[in-house]
């Protein structure tokens, strides 16, 4: 088998194949549901119902999608420049940590605290990614390794802080921080509905990233560096500086996920703040083909599968693991579909 490049893929190919990938995902998922002894159509129906079957379910899905939009954007921005940021998880926790520090240690009114926490998180996340990027541009250290390992370092640092200086004295011995004051929480988007302003900020961020990528010189530089760094360098684009700016943007976006979860939802910092939002952000970004507006759609899709699978497993007795399998399968098929839009397979 060999691959032959397709110069100009047809519209049918570039839209049809990703759609086919989703169909294939559900075929595989359906077979797994059958293996678990359930009716596949019923299973997917229950997932859909659990994700969007009621106002409550839909809001829960959007709540869950919020951190995924941030981490998905972080990954999409970085991958565009071929900066392989696998450390959104660490940047998320850095953002959460700074949010808690500012929110609990500074005695300021909420209207001041909220923007301060957001900006603090943004800066912290950027700085966490800055280290690996400087190591990459200066010494050629592989950022996949450094950003990935920083995830574990950051989690251990948080763990240490939660067992020590940040431990809530009123927390009955649980490793959790003090809560930020009520008036410093992100308000509800619509009064009476359980959806906070974090979701609004996430949508705004997606639009801002889209504008940066398509309308600014920075976006042009990022795309040039990502598509062909040698040509970009030759043309006088400062590749190292572009990488650093990309890192600050990407790390900052991931950290906003931490800010939004703490200030919008939890109020405190615990070690289970993120069930892998940073890693799932990679899936979200890839499914969106790195398009920032697509990230919003794919984050809601991914969150819907997770939330829906929770409801489904209670009713159909199919393990919630099916959500993880569906995502992994979707990612694999999508990567294959992207490859097949660019190449045609020849036999012999």
């Amino acid at each position: 088998m060999r691959l032959e490049a397709i110069a100009n893929p047809t519209l049918a190919r570039s839209i049809g194949l990703p759609v086919l990938a989703l169909v294939a995902t559900f075929v595989v998922g359906g077979m797994l549901a059958m293996l678990a002894g359930a009716n596949p159509l019923l299973t997917f129906g229950l997932i859909l119902k659990g994700a969007a079957g009621s106002k409550f379910a839909l809001l829960e899905t959007l709540n869950r999608a919020t951190p995924l939009i941030f981490t998905g954007l972080a990954v999409a921005v970085a991958f565009r420049a071929r900066l392989w940021n696998i450390g959104a998880e660490a940047q998320l926790y850095a953002g959460a940590l700074v949010t808690i520090l500012i929110g609990t240690k500074l005695a300021l009114p909420g209207v001041v605290l909220i923007p301060l926490m957001g900006i603090g998180a943004l800066v912290a996340g950027g700085l966490v990614l800055l280290g690996p990027v400087l190591l990459k541009t200066r010494l050629g250290v592989d950022e996949v390794v450094t950003t990935l390992l920083l995830n574990f370092i950051m989690l251990l640092v948080i763990s240490m802080l939660l067992e020590g200086p940040l431990k809530d004295p009123m927390g009955m011995g649980w490793p959790k921080s003090e809560a930020i004051p009520r008036d410093a929480r992100l308000p509800r988007l619509v009064e009476g509905l359980r959806l906070h302003w974090g979701f609004g900020i996430a949508i705004l961020s997606a639009i801002v990233v889209w504008v940066i990528q398509t309308r600014t010189t920075l976006g042009y530089e990022i795309r040039a560096v990502g598509l062909n760094a040698a040509a970009a360098r030759f043309a006088g684009i400062p590749v190292g500086k572009v990488m650093i700016k990309t890192a600050l943007l990407s790390g900052g976006l991931a950290a906003l996920a931490g800010f939004s979860e703490v200030a919008g939802l939890r109020g405190t910092l615990t070690l289970d703040l993120s069930p892998g939002f940073g890693y799932t952000g990679i899936v979200v970004a890839m499914l969106a083909l790195l398009n920032p507006l697509g990230v919003v759609v794919s984050a809601i899709f991914v969150a819907g599968i997770f939330v829906g699978a929770d409801g489904m497993s209670r009713a159909a007795e199919v393990p919630t693991y099916i959500a993880d399998i569906l995502l992994a399968t979707a990612l694999l098929f999508m990567v294959l579909a992207i490859l097949l839009t660019k190449f045609r397979v020849l036999r012999g």
């Binding site: 010189t217 042009y220 970009a232 030759f234 684009i237 012999g348």
Partner: protein
């Protein structure tokens, strides 16, 4: 090797009606020819004429949509790489396929050893390689490591590799691109011996004088069709060029240059690939840099492009010594740069024409303002370049990977010349272009010279250097020869310098 004995005058290779389509493009359109025993057949054609596709079909890398390949009377199964090799066809690629860290003998044996036999039988192999070297005039030390060999020697190893596998038909793809004139003569001597011993050769090239010198028959391909098959003695360079292009070619005829002030000077510069180089580029003059590929041309181009900085010595532009030297500084200093590799460094394949047109000026008005792109301004600039430099494309929104090499080069040329550079670095500006585009690019460089630019022309094609340059330097192992004014040097003299002779004074 063959089941049925062949008559002496049966063709050794026969291509019948080979047709290959890639989508709407017909790369090979009903091509048929015979190759006789003991002949050198030249396959001539511009880039994109279908030479490479045809050879890939012969070797089973592609399967043809129609037609068949016969070697020594037997039809090759389509789409099976290896079938041609086993049938006795050997190919020497433009880019060598040798393992650098192994010896010559190991490279020749690589892939020929039996899986089921212990020991390599190196003694017998060594004797055979020695015999082949002697018979074909391919002198090379069998125990030398490839990395230590010159390009010419590596090519000999490639040919030995094919001969060791009992190749009776040798195909050479642009074999002289990397050779000095002297090495080319040696290669031709080998080919003559090969045909005298009953082998057959297909010589792929677009250098007309070489085709005239070595071949007995010429096939000309154009747009995937066989447009001519002539005996070499019945034709001449001019006729072949016309057949290749389908129109009459008027080569550029430079007028006399009027050299002006020095615009760029290197004073005893040493970098990673340059040794104590001094060079002056004057306004209104083309300075040609001749040399065998990989002797410091890239290092000099990197230096002038801003990608490399001097380790010792100074770079002066219009009398000022530059510091903090980067590509952006080079552009700001008025150096227009045409890079060697238009695919890897000259353009971004997935960017549109517009995006590529502003690659060096995106941060300036009218392409952007205060960090905001002005796509309308950028597109107007691209449209102006497309119109003025006659770039054939569907529009400024086309991704540049869809353009031919010639049109891509025109965009780079336009991007550079629109900035009215004072110094132009043209590194292999016409490599791989068809004759029409070559003439166009060369005339543009001459125009730039006449309007007062200092041009440094780097090329591995001596003809090009001799035609266009007002002053010639030869580069060898990072050292620069003295300047030779136009008309003072013959190709053979330059060949001596290219081979590294004459540089002793500098040591």
């Amino acid at each position: 090797m063959t089941a049925t004995p062949l008559a002496q005058d049966d063709p050794v290779l026969r291509l019948c009606n080979i047709t290959k389509r890639f989508g709407a493009l017909t790369a090979n359109d009903g091509i048929s020819f015979d190759l006789a025993r003991g002949e050198v057949m030249a396959l001539l054609g511009e880039n994109g004429a279908g030479k490479t596709t045809l050879m890939n079909i012969l070797f089973g890398h592609y399967s043809a949509d129609d037609g068949s390949v016969e070697v020594f009377g037997q039809t090759l199964p389509p789409g099976q790489p290896g079938a041609a090799l086993r049938a006795g066809v050997g190919m020497v690629h433009q880019h060598f396929t040798l393992a650098d860290n192994m010896t010559v003998l190991d490279n020749i044996l690589l892939g020929t050893e039996s899986l089921w036999k212990f020991g390599l039988g190196r003694g017998a192999a060594r004797a055979r390689v020695a015999a082949l070297s002697r018979d074909f005039g391919l002198e090379v030390d069998p125990d030398a490591v490839i990395a230590a060999l010159s390009v010419g020697e590596r090519q000999r190893v490639e040919i030995l590799k094919a001969l060791y596998r009992d190749a009776r038909i040798l195909i050479l793809d642009e074999p002289t691109a990397v050779l000095t004139p002297q090495e080319t003569d040696a290669l031709f001597d080998t080919l003559r011996r090969a045909v005298a011993l009953g082998l057959s050769v297909i010589f792929i090239s677009h250098k007309l004088h070489e085709v005239m010198a070595i071949s007995t028959r010429v096939l000309v391909l154009r747009h995937g069709r066989l447009v001519g098959a002539v005996a070499t003695q019945d034709t001449d360079r001019h006729k072949l060029a016309e057949m290749m292009v389908g129109a009459e070619i008027i080569p550029p005829a430079p007028s006399k240059a009027t050299p002006g002030v020095p615009l760029l000077m290197l004073n005893r510069v040493t970098t990673a690939g340059l040794r104590d180089v001094s060079l002056t580029l004057r306004a209104g003059q083309i300075t040609g840099l001749a040399g065998v590929s990989g002797n410091g041309q890239g290092a000099l181009a990197d230096l002038l492009s801003g990608l490399a900085v001097p380790r010792a010595g100074t770079l002066e532009i219009a009398g000022d010594t530059v510091t903090d030297w980067t590509p952006r500084r080079a552009i700001a200093a008025g150096i227009g740069r045409i890079p060697e590799d238009r695919h890897k460094t000259g353009t971004i394949a997935d960017f549109t024409l517009t995006e590529n047109a502003i690659l060096e000026t995106y941060a300036d008005i009218p392409n952007s303002r205060y960090g905001w792109m002005d796509w309308r301004g950028a597109e107007q600039r691209a449209e102006a370049i497309i119109a003025q430099y006659d770039i054939r494309c569907p529009g400024p929104g086309t991704r540049i990977r869809l353009l031919s090499g010639g049109n891509m080069q025109k965009l780079i040329l336009g991007r550079v010349l629109e900035e009215s550079p004072r110094v132009i670095l043209a590194n292999q500006p016409v490599r791989g272009l068809d004759i029409g585009a070559v003439t166009y690019v060369q005339n543009q460089l001459l125009n730039a010279r006449d309007s007062g630019a200092a041009v440094l022309l780097i090329s591995e094609d001596l003809d090009e250097i001799l035609t266009l340059s007002d002053v010639i330097h030869v580069i060898s192992e990072g050292r620069l020869s003295p300047a030779f004014p136009r008309g003072t040097m013959k190709p053979a003299d330059l060949g001596q310098w290219m081979a590294g002779q004459g540089f002793e004074y500098a040591a």
